[in-house]
Symmetry: C2
Subunit: 429 residues, 2 copies
């Protein structure tokens, strides 16, 4: 049986999972792929710490570039992360004609154009299945299975930390800060959870999905990114009463001439498949003109699920190297559709308005909405009457344009009947 040597750059948590797979599962991989993977090198600044997996000391090095230059190594696996040294390693390996496997979402999201062009110029291959969704094979599905489809839309729960927090807030009626602390204690959130809870991690993944589904480049500063920090427990409870769960969604949708990309918490009907995705799990729902509706669900992060996908990509790299296959990557064409301005999107809205509990206030709010072409689907006032005090009123609108909602909410919040800023959340059907 043929074999090929793999060089790993980055011996962290996922790296150790990949080494474990290549060490303990080499036989099963070889029988399925038809080519035996062997580990030819591991580069990391720290080659002393025990990662809990036995490794031949001879293959450990602090010199990643030396490993790339080793003619015996055909495949470089980059698991360092970030856009600094990781980018240098990936680019140098591609230029050296090596196949590169990476799980680096920031790198793909921020430098996708450059990397895809480099792949096509050099004739090397780049595999990035683990950059979105951990153990979920969504990248492969988009690149290979769904290749005929024009996508009406993709909606993803792509961050396990946020989904864990939201699930705990709903099921245990916890405030955000307590749910976050619990997530940190349970190992589902980093000590600094900013990238996760502010939505940037999800935005990186959405940019990669948008590139594959729509052939577009999505600069991070051009899209709507709203995280879950500060989401109020009462909105989760009101949403539940209305038959919804709140999820942090990446939403991609194609329109006539534009593509919509946005990341924000959204109300999802409880009977929708995405509403059943709880805890640290992730899922992506795909709507295509051929496939119809589909969903891929699984563990979106973690050592072994991520290593599972990296090792799947290594399988591809082994096969492709042995036959000299070059996989071209699609680069944005001149007629790629532009991004839709968030002000132009049309969706339904959940508004929690804090109004004085006296006659006429609701009619004032609804007349402001009406003047902006926003029609009301339902109104819910849960608390008892408190004549003269501010009480929350929850309004669900029919489909309305974001720009109109923004303007109407500003006028509502400026009115003297309102005691606190209106909470506005989007509803995804």
């Amino acid at each position: 049986m043929k074999s090929a040597k793999i060089g790993l750059a980055g011996f962290g948590t996922v790296g150790a999972g990949v080494v474990e797979g290549l060490t303990t599962h080499a036989d099963i991989m070889a029988s399925r792929i038809g080519i035996r993977p062997t580990l030819g090198g591991i580069a990391d600044l720290d080659i002393e710490t025990d990662r809990g997996i036995a490794v031949d000391a001879d293959i450990l090095t602090t010199d990643a570039f030396g490993m790339i230059d080793d003619p015996e190594i055909a495949i470089i696996v980059e698991l360092i992360g970030g856009t600094g040294i990781a980018k240098e390693i990936v680019c140098r390996a591609l230029r050296a004609g090596k196949a590169v496997v990476t799980a680096n979402k920031a790198l793909l999201a921020e430098h996708g154009d450059e990397l895809f062009s480099l792949v096509n110029e050099t004739g090397s291959n780049l595999y990035f299945g683990a950059s979105v969704g951990g153990g979920i094979p969504i990248i492969r599905a988009l690149q290979e299975s769904f290749v005929v489809n024009q996508f009406r839309g993709l909606r993803g729960i792509l961050n396990g930390t946020c989904n864990y927090i939201l699930t705990r807030m709903e099921t245990e009626h916890l405030p955000f800060d307590e749910a976050l602390q619990e997530a940190q204690e349970a190992g589902f959130a980093e000590a600094d959870p900013t990238l996760d809870i502010n939505g940037f991690d999800t935005a990186h993944k959405a940019a990669i999905l948008a590139r594959l589904a729509y052939g577009i480049s999505v600069p991070m500063d051009t899209i709507c990114v709203e995280g879950i920090r500060g989401l109020a427990a009462e909105d989760i409870a009101y949403a539940s009463d209305l038959g919804y769960r709140i999820k942090l969604l990446a939403i991609l949708a194609s329109h006539d001439k534009t593509v919509e990309v946005r990341i924000h918490p959204a109300l999802v009907p409880k009977q929708h498949m995405l509403a059943s995705v709880n805890g640290a799990f992730n899922a992506v729902m795909v709507e295509g003109d051929f496939l119809g509706s589909g969903m891929l669900y699984g563990q979106g992060a973690g050592q072994k699920p991520t290593a599972s996908t990296v090792l799947g990509d290594i399988g591809d790299a082994l096969r492709d190297c042995s036959s000299g296959m070059h996989r071209t990557l699609p680069t944005p064409s001149d007629d790629a559709p532009p991004l839709c301005d968030i002000e132009n999107i049309v969706t339904r809205y959940y508004l929690r308005v804090n109004v004085l509990d006296k006659p006429g206030t609701l009619s004032r709010v609804s007349s402001i909405l009406g003047e902006h072409g926003i029609s009301i689907d339902s109104v819910m006032q849960k608390t008892e009457e408190h004549q003269g005090e501010h009480v929350p009123v929850v309004i669900v609108t029919h489909g309305a344009q974001e720009g109109n909602i923004t303007h109407a909410v500003r006028l509502i919040d400026e009115a003297d009947i309102v005691g606190a800023p209106t909470v506005r959340l989007r509803i995804e059907q």
Copy 2:
């Protein structure tokens, strides 16, 4: 851009979907694959009937073998189905060095050993992504994404007809025959639905999954296949009261030295992801030692979803042909684990016993169960008292061995306190 010619054998419903994809979506496929697919031939006994898609008359032929022999055609797509002429076409094309794409589950399930060996001998390639799950990329995930995983188990809802019938029985409280008739009228069931409702279609798909997940050959006559015909509406209702939905499942599980493959209706807890798979949708839940839990969900049949997966496979074939890649297929090794005898499986059971409503009968039933090492988790008697009449009593057991249940149920049914055969359903947690 490179291009390659495709010959289609079988211009039926899915075939017409594939032709539509190759005709109207050739640009998008070419931009994603890097190689342009072109349709070089369509072979069918009927080349007169309008399929609703414009086709160049020159490429229509009734001579499938002539099309295979055409040196310009690199890829043969077999969409005839069955194990007769379809098998001849597939084998002849493989021997001629062509890449073959097929959606033929019966062929793969019944002749997998022969076909996989032929692929490895000839160095040709065989793609069969659409043989299981229609638009769901489960075959690709098993062959490529999850390549490192040892699978604890797979559980699939693999037949849309059955799932539609079961969903309607539950939500509309319909008896089986009415739900079947409705499914036929809605186009979700064939005029002769035997293969679907008796579980054989699901069994074929389970055999293909077992081959890929466990490297084993599963002859159809060696496994437990129970369909949904005759499932009583009252059992669906009782199951619902107990917090379960009944689904027709393909269950694959690995044990120390054996692999379990069985197809039968099973009670699934309502909060389980598989319980949310309703109507004609399909899903496969996969448990792997690396990936953890994952589920792929989507439209398991139908023209366009199936064509979507066939066209994904055509994309592979285009790439592989251009680089000369041969994908070896794993054939069962001498140390492949044997199938587990159904009598030896251990699971929980739902029993509906029809006993005389008089003191002492339940104790007699439970003592028979106890003598067989079967312990009771709960007992439910829904109907009011009818002293001296037969009434249904629903018993849920703890984990018990199938052989013991079979023997105990036989003794219960022989007892003079029982008025009708006991209904026995397995519970899947």
